[in-house]
């Protein structure tokens, strides 16, 4: 074997293995899709086929009977089970019911039901209505947009302050900022909640939105690290031209720091989209204000007996972020790459 061929084989093998891993990694999405199309009848049957199907039924004299594949006289016939018994059962031929019942000896439970492919697209329509999807979606988008704006505005200012100005206590303050990353949220929850109740904010979006305008450690850190890589000479030149600090930020720093800012935008958007606990705590009792995640969890509690509905609901919840991601995947990946290495 030539080295070239060996290399080709190695490449093919490695690529196949990697894509195999990815297929396994994403297979839950496939099962979700298939499950979301199942009918209730299929869900409650043992050993049902992989694809969404329904057991075939036959209606005779106003009653519905299941159709089974019955081995009779050396051939397999599709017959309707009309009278169940432990040792023998009676069957009817759907094609010729007038001929009367046939007795088959054996346990009917060992027979295989006859399946027809029947994806239930109506599951989606039902869930759309039951979960009030458009409202949840609108809530989520509004929350995500406003809090992302808040985060970007406040974090840019704060990061600029830390990156470019010397002031007493800067070092300790920055350490303190980083330390808040390690702070369990539980430590502040009860007093914070109490305050929000006292000022009448519980049951509104304010507890979710207002804090985002006061900067968070992750984003400030990422932005500050990026700002530090922008040469100081550039803002000095601007300040010689008579620009104040705010204008320097706007005209020099921000245009240079777009990759970092995009990353902050994306991260915060995804973060808000995925946040569950805060809206759960502050918006319980106000379903008209809740975002998708809370709505989906509540839906799970309500319809746990209908797994197909749950999966259809999950599918609808992930649709928007996944589509957004597919459209902007380059920006997403590059955004993370541009900041991830900065420590």
């Amino acid at each position: 074997m030539t080295p070239y061929a060996a290399r080709r084989i190695r490449t093919a093998l490695m690529t196949i293995v990697m894509f195999g891993i990815v297929v396994a990694f994403l297979s839950p999405l496939v099962q979700m899709t298939l499950s979301s199309l199942k009918s209730e009848r299929q869900v409650s049957q043992a050993h049902a086929p992989l694809l969404p199907s329904d057991p075939r039924t036959f209606t005779h004299e106003g009653r519905q009977y299941d159709v089974y594949r019955v081995p009779l006289d050396g051939a397999v016939r599709e017959l309707a089970l009309v009278k169940k018994g432990r040792a023998e059962s009676e069957f009817l031929d759907p094609a010729a019911p007038e001929r009367g019942t046939v007795v088959w000896r054996g346990s009917w439970r060992t027979l295989e039901p006859s399946w027809v492919l029947a994806p239930q697209w109506s599951n989606y329509a039902a869930v759309w209505r039951l979960i009030d999807f458009p409202r949840l979606l609108l809530n989520t988008i509004t929350l995500a947009v406003i809090s992302t704006i808040g985060t970007v505005l406040s974090c840019t200012l704060v990061a600029y302050g830390f990156a470019r100005f010397r002031f007493p206590g800067r070092g300790p303050l920055f350490t303190l900022l980083i330390a808040t990353i390690f702070l369990p949220t539980a430590v502040t929850l009860i007093p914070t909640y109490t305050i929000f109740v006292q000022i009448g904010w519980v049951g509104t979006w304010l507890p979710l939105l207002v804090p985002t305008f006061f900067a968070n450690a992750y984003s400030v850190f990422l932005l500050r690290q990026y700002f530090l890589t922008i040469p100081r000479e550039m803002d000095e030149a601007a300040s010689i031209d008579g620009a104040g600090p705010l204008r320097t930020l706007r005209s020099v720093i921000v245009p240079q720091a777009w990759p970092a800012i995009t990353a902050v935008i994306l991260f915060n958007f995804v973060y808000t989209w995925n946040d569950y606990f805060t809206p759960l705590v502050y918006l319980s009792g106000r379903p008209e204000l809740q975002p998708l995640q809370v709505g989906l969890a509540a839906f799970n509690g309500l319809y746990s007996t209908k797994p197909a509905y749950i999966q259809a609901g999950a599918m609808m919840t992930i649709a928007v972020p996944v589509i957004l991601f597919i459209c902007f995947q380059r920006t997403f990946v590059r955004g993370i790459m541009s900041t991830g290495v900065e420590k």
Partner: protein
């Protein structure tokens, strides 16, 4: 004269700096410092909604109770067990996957990167429900295991000894960002280092050990620290899957879940605050130890 100008400039700079940082300082005081102090004060009081007792100072009673509280330590152990299984995976797996994706022998790197990252954007409530569907007894994972010849496939979500691995599997979907960060780190390693290693006759394995791993140590440390902070507070997925019941058999009553139960279900604000402070102290100690240890194995190419 000159020093006066300098000090004027310095004062002006300090003023601007503080002004820019002010939003964070206010936010820190309002949403972190004051509530945290309040929680600390609570640990010495007897605030409990169910027990109608006058508010009073109880000294260290809550701390005494903490040491005798079997559930608290059992819950801490649940969190620890999860962490022991999860941390190595969350640190090593993204690194290995990134190395593989970055390999010369793999085609379709861009597509792989995107597909591996995609589940990261799936909201976790949805991903918990999707995985629940995978992990039930007649789900795909056990069906696959049976096809592979495992007769007695585990009950991932209802066997106390298998539920932690089950939750770890659900968590795998969050690895995307780690993979991307590792990939970015790998791209940043100068190729000359590999060339030099090859000249020294180092094979693939030696290059990995002697060039890639040391050069990547800051990235690995970074993912590790974030994972530790997250794992200490882990409880939302079991909260969604098991309604916070700790099922099966208390095996998912994570420390943070017990904490929130104490707050919300038992309404014992003071004792809950004590648990919260314990969690805070443990997180602090663990991260400090990790930072201290990092001096021995993390190599920064340039000092800041």
């Amino acid at each position: 004269m000159r020093s006066e100008t300098t000090s004027w400039v310095a004062r002006r700079e300090a003023r601007y700096g503080l002004l820019f940082v002010l939003p964070w300082i206010i936010g820190f005081l309002a949403f972190t410092a004051v509530p945290m102090a309040a929680t600390f004060v609570f640990t010495f009081l007897n605030i409990s909604l169910t027990e109608r007792e006058p508010l009073m100072f109880v000294g260290l009673a809550n701390y005494q109770r903490l040491f005798a509280d079997r559930q608290a330590w059992a819950s801490l152990w649940v969190t620890a067990r999860f962490a022991l299984l999860w941390l190595p995976l969350v640190v090593v797996l993204p690194f290995l996957l990134a190395v593989a994706v970055n390999s010369r022998y793999v085609r379709g790197t861009g597509l792989l990167r995107v597909l591996l990252f995609m589940p990261y954007v799936v909201p976790f409530v949805a991903s918990a429900l999707i995985w629940q569907n995978m992990l039930v007894d007649d789900g795909w994972i056990n069906t696959a295991l049976r096809v592979l010849g495992v007769g007695d496939a585990p009950s991932w979500l209802s066997d106390p000894s298998w539920v932690i691995p089950g939750l770890v599997m659900i968590g795998l979907w969050g690895l995307g960002s780690g993979i991307i960060i590792n990939l970015a780190g790998l791209r940043g390693i100068p190729t000359e280092l590999y060339d030099a290693a090859r000249l020294d006759g180092a094979g693939w394995w030696r290059q990995l050990w002697h060039v890639t791993v040391p050069m990547m140590s800051p990235v690995i440390f970074y993912t590790m620290i974030l994972a530790v902070v997250e794992v200490m507070q882990y409880f939302l997925i079991p909260l969604v899957l098991f309604d916070g019941s700790g099922d099966p058999g208390g095996a998912t009553r994570f420390f943070n879940l017990y904490l929130y139960q104490t707050f919300f279900t038992y309404q014992e604000m003071s004792y809950g605050s004590t648990l919260a402070w314990l969690l805070f102290v443990i997180t602090l100690v663990v991260t400090l130890v990790l930072f201290r240890l990092s001096r021995h194995w993390v190599h920064y190419t340039s000092e800041r």
